[in-house]
């Protein structure tokens, strides 16, 4: 990806600017919030339905447009599955799942129990015992189901391919024909659970965080319809919960986490860089337009920090934040950052 130098400009709300007073790590970059949306008191007026952006702040969710006008603002029942176009607001005990459009209109009633989640435009449901995963169309048609003796603890998908990792170390892959194949058991470690999985946009690369004693991040490349290991990184410790790992939208970078370290692997330079952060990572959002990663951490004292990190591991911006509820998203050159009940809009403009 062509290296871009961005500047984030425009001063709009002075108070908000003071609240988010930047601590520059790089003085050539200006960072200012330009618009704020109060998620609890949205701007009145009809939202532009073609540019709706989903948000969730604590138990409030909704969609707003580029001008801060909300199409819907409501309370989350127990949890919510949400993408740009649809949402499923569901209760803790589900008997069916109601799909709504981003303007609140009813779309379908999916006759299955379990907890739903979107990966981009694809909708998946995990059964109550976490042993079955199924894909559904928005209209409520079951596309595939797969059940295993072990709990599913990681997954990823692109338009064609879906992958899932299990506690017993199994990885399954379903291609565009929805044919499910047991891909592998990595079996590199004493215990072989798959704690994180990622698939590139073209399905050529697959990455995972796997194992205990030792724990590895491995990258595999597709060759003759088989994935073969091309890169292995051994962690110095074992983490026993699900790990964040994802490819950038252009597949140039692979981002992953381990406790309080943020890693970035560059497929062009073939370099792995790491950024130690203050506290455990609790949210990550990659901003494709700029190549920055926005990261939130929380340390043992309960203090939260917000970072913007360059792909080469330099910290561009760091700020202590107060709220537990943090929202991060980006769309069409804008980065959205929410904390408390406010969402701040940051425009990114080329120099």
């Amino acid at each position: 990806m062509k290296k871009k130098r961005k500047k984030i400009s425009l001063l709009f709300f002075l108070i908000i600017y003071i609240f988010l007073a930047p601590e520059y790590e790089n003085n050539s970059i200006k960072f200012s919030p330009v618009r704020v949306v109060n998620a609890l008191k949205p701007v009145k007026g009809e939202a532009d339905k073609d540019s709706l952006i989903p948000f969730r702040l604590g138990q409030v969710f909704g969609y707003f447009d580029r001008n801060g006008k909300a199409s819907i603002v409501d309370n989350v029942f127990y949890n919510i599955a949400q993408n740009k176009h649809y949402f499923i607001n569901y209760t803790a005990v589900t008997e069916n799942l109601v799909v709504n459009k981003n303007d609140g209109r009813f779309v379908s009633n999916i006759k299955t129990s379990g907890y739903p989640f979107f990966i981009k435009e694809r909708l998946f449901v995990i059964s109550a015992n976490s042993k079955m995963i199924s894909e559904w169309s928005i209209e409520g048609e079951n596309i595939f189901s797969y059940e295993n003796e072990s709990e599913i603890i990681s997954s990823d998908a692109n338009t064609d391919t879906f992958i899932a990792g299990f506690i017993d170390g199994t990885v399954i892959v379903s291609d565009k024909d929805k044919k499910i194949e047991k891909l592998m058991k990595p079996e590199l470690s004493r215990i072989n659970a798959v704690y994180g999985l990622a698939i590139s946009g073209d399905s050529e690369l697959l990455a995972m965080i796997t194992g205990i004693d030792p724990q590895y991040m491995i990258i595999m490349k597709k060759k003759h319809n088989q994935y073969s290991r091309i890169y292995t990184y051994q962690f110095s410790n074992n983490l026993r919960s699900s790990r964040y790992i994802t490819f950038s939208d252009d597949d140039r970078y692979l981002f992953f986490e381990s406790e309080n370290i943020f890693y970035c692997y560059d497929f062009i330079s073939k370099n792995l860089v790491s950024t130690p952060l203050e506290g455990r990572i609790t949210a990550i959002h990659f901003i494709p337009e700029s190549g920055f990663s926005a990261v939130k951490t929380e340390n043992q004292a309960g203090q939260s920090y917000f970072y913007l990190i360059y792909p080469d591991s330099r910290i561009m911006y760091k700020k202590k934040i107060e709220s537990d509820n943090v929202y991060m998203n980006s769309s069409d050159g804008r980065f959205y950052f929410g904390t408390g009940s406010y969402i701040y809009t940051l425009d990114m403009l080329d120099d």
Partner: protein, 292 residues
């Protein structure tokens, strides 16, 4: 002194007989293995008894923990949960745990160590521990009651209704004591459930075993010992049926498929028996007078 020696001997014998100890000190069985959960079998047992410590059932190592709605975790109705691997190729899951109670830094655990508190996270409607056991050698999810010391129970299962349906037709006949039918192949099904004496509300549970006898000969045994993988679905190991083929109708139905049997011309005596894990048994007998 002799008395203490006997108690000690009894304790040693009991622990040798049962590979696992109960994951709580005071247990109330609220749901059992193999129950119908709509799109899947209940793959564990549900234990009530109010908020209390959750204990590791054997020596082992925590291999996974998940906190409800945690960043980077998939959503799960198990809520807060812990998975432990033990010797003897066993893996146990403890779910619906109380928020912030997980002892996630205690990686190596001893039998009886506190690992969390019972909670109501995930899809639990009240304080409840969902407990599961996987046999890693057999690759099967096993009924935890087979490995735990006896829970004790005095209530019999209930056999409510028995139905037959001639193969190829969709005409279901509810069996009476005497029934006149045509000879042929019939699919048998029945509404069967167990109840618990430990809860003060009407609580239906799956039985442990169902037997079908035809003219005194055992024609089918469905036991709720284990669940395993078959192609893309989990099936009850004893009859290889997936949940949608075993339970007729949907969620909360106790109407189970018993099998297809050949009823020849003449008088045929059919007995359906159901027992729970404590050995309490119920049975019902029917006469089929069949003609060619």
């Amino acid at each position: 002194m002799k008395k203490y020696f006997v108690i000690l001997l009894l304790l040693i014998t009991t622990s040798a007989l049962f590979p696992l100890q109960w994951p709580v000190e005071k247990w109330v069985l609220q749901s059992t293995f193999g129950e119908n959960r709509g799109n899947h079998y209940h793959t564990g047992i549900g234990i009530g008894g109010g908020e209390q410590k959750v204990l590791s059932v054997a020596d082992g190592e925590i291999v996974y923990y998940q906190e409800e709605n945690a960043f980077s975790s998939l959503p799960s109705e198990l809520g807060n949960f812990i998975i432990i691997e033990h010797e003897r190729e066993l893996r146990t899951t403890y779910a619906n745990l109380k928020k912030d109670s997980l002892e996630k830094n205690s990686i190596k655990v001893k039998s009886g160590d506190k690992i969390a508190l019972i909670g109501d996270s995930g899809a639990s409607s009240g304080p409840n521990l969902h407990f599961e056991v996987v046999d890693l050698e057999l690759n099967e999810i096993v009924n935890p009651l087979m490995l735990l010391p006896p829970a004790g129970d005095r209530t019999k299962p209930s056999i409510k209704e028995v139905f037959i349906e001639m193969a190829g037709t969709k005409e279901e006949i509810k069996l009476l004591n005497r029934n006149n039918i045509k000879a042929g192949k019939y699919d048998f099904s029945a509404v069967i459930y167990d109840t618990s004496e430990y809860v003060d509300y009407f609580c239906q549970l799956a039985p442990y075993k169902i037997n079908v006898y035809i003219n005194g000969e055992e024609a089918a045994v469905i036991s709720y010992n284990s669940i395993k993988k078959d192609d893309k679905s989990l099936v009850l190991s004893s009859n290889m049926k997936k949940v949608s083929d075993y339970y007729k109708n949907t969620l909360n139905s106790w109407h189970v498929y018993l099998g297809q049997f050949d009823i020849s011309a003449g008088v045929v005596r059919v007995e359906i028996a159901a027992s729970d894990f404590a050995g309490n048994e119920a049975a019902k007998e029917f006469l089929l007078i069949s003609q060619k």
